[in-house]
Amino acid sequence: MTARKLLRAGFGHNWTMLNVSGLACSRGERRLFTDVGFSLDPGEWLHVQGENGAGKTSLMRLLVGLSPADAGEIRWRNEPTPSAEFRRDLIYLGHHAAVKEDLTPLENLLLAAALDGVGLDETKALAALVRLGLRGREDLPVRVLSAGQKRRVLLARLLTRPAVIWVLDEAFNALDVAAVRLLGDLIAEHLATGGMAVLTSHQPLPVPGGKALVL
């Protein structure tokens, strides 16, 4: 569950784990940003800030490799992305709920893990759901849950899927105060074990430290 085991391969080198340089992106006719660059090492996190429409989500999608950049380079473990290694090390949670409404939270977690080829037993999955405050909800179809609870089902993947870098796009939206604090704790724990995170938000985040990038 910790990032440490996955990280071991990366130690003893002088390159940074994640290195982004000269990134440019346009949507249709509009140029969103040019020459965006940053780097992250284990234990660091990046706060991407900007107004609505500044291109935060676009940057996240470029970063994880869903859309191609107009220019620039993203290197993970000194290899250009998207690589199989990068996808193994990455969790990306976007605006979408990314859970199946007709399945229960438990089924969602187990099937997502199976699709990713990651071993996950039921006890572990249940423990993750309990930590996210979904005790007693694990066998209800997601359809009947509230928006915030659906979000929590998605966030449970952070606990069930080992990864080094978390890319979370507006992950704090639709969460109540307790859940915001919980997610902040999860991110802090992840960073403490040598993980990395890239977060977008236009509000201050309940995570200490962090680099900032303003679009």
Binding site: V64, G65, L66, S67, P68, A84, R87, R88, L90, Y92, G94, H95, H96, A97, A98, V99, K100, E101, D102, L103, E107, L111, A112, A114, L115, D116, G117, V118, P141
Partner: protein
């Protein structure tokens, strides 16, 4: 390989929770084949002659009915995005989805065809060839259709466009599938037709998931 089977299991489980969507395609198949005698007239000789063609065209259209849903539900709720970023190769997951589509939309048609063939007074050996041809042909329809479904994902008027893209590509399957039954009825033997169907299935099984994956990545950009 586990991820492939997990995708199949997942899509079957989802279909089980929404039975009506699968059943619609099956009922459509039954109704369309039953409409032809009403339109043409109950002459047994004529109906027997055109039965393979009718069953094949109906199977073509019934498969088409389920195609727009193949990726759109996963696209809308964001799970397709997660699949594209999964450590498992997307091609493998896509292949799993196509197999699940065939099990849900193709296999029921294969199993129903002999029963519907009885309506057209086909004899046992002809029914056997028809079933065999559909068994080889319907996976081909699912594979080719998946490319069209991926290309029209999230596009305006996707459903109608999908039919326009996919139906011309279905023609060889239709010709050899219905041709196998006709050749058998004419005493020529269906072996050639069936081997060609199998060859096309092998070709599509290799290339279609690949093309579908490429189209999906474009749709997600």
């Amino acid at each position: 390989m586990n991820a492939f089977l997990a995708t199949v299991r997942r899509d079957l489980l989802l279909a089980l929770r929404r039975k009506s969507e699968v059943l619609t395609a099956v009922f459509f198949f039954v109704i369309v084949t039953s409409l032809f005698p009403l339109g043409i007239g109950p002459e047994p000789v004529l109906l027997k002659k055109i039965a393979p063609g009718i069953l094949w065209v109906a199977a073509l259209l019934a498969t088409l009915l389920g195609l727009p849903r193949l990726f759109s539900a996963d696209h809308v709720d964001g799970t397709l995005e997660q699949m594209a970023l999964s450590p498992s190769p997307l091609g493998l997951l896509v292949a799993g989805k196509i197999l699940a589509h065939w099990l849900l939309c193709g296999l029921p048609l294969v199993l129903l065809a002999p029963i519907l063939g009885l309506q057209f007074d086909l004899d046992a050996s002809t029914l056997g060839i028809l079933t065999l041809a559909l068994l080889l042909g319907t996976p081909l329809l699912s594979l080719i259709g998946a490319i069209g479904a991926a290309l029209t994902l999230g596009v305006r008027g996707g459903g109608v466009l999908l039919a326009l893209l996919v139906l011309p590509l279905y023609i060889p399957a239709l010709i050899f599938g219905a041709g196998a039954v006709e050749a058998h009825s004419a005493g020529l033997g269906a072996g050639g037709h069936l081997s060609l169907l199998a060859a096309m299935l092998a070709l599509a099984g290799f290339f279609a998931p690949w093309a579908t994956t490429a189209a999906l990545r474009i749709a997600l950009e």
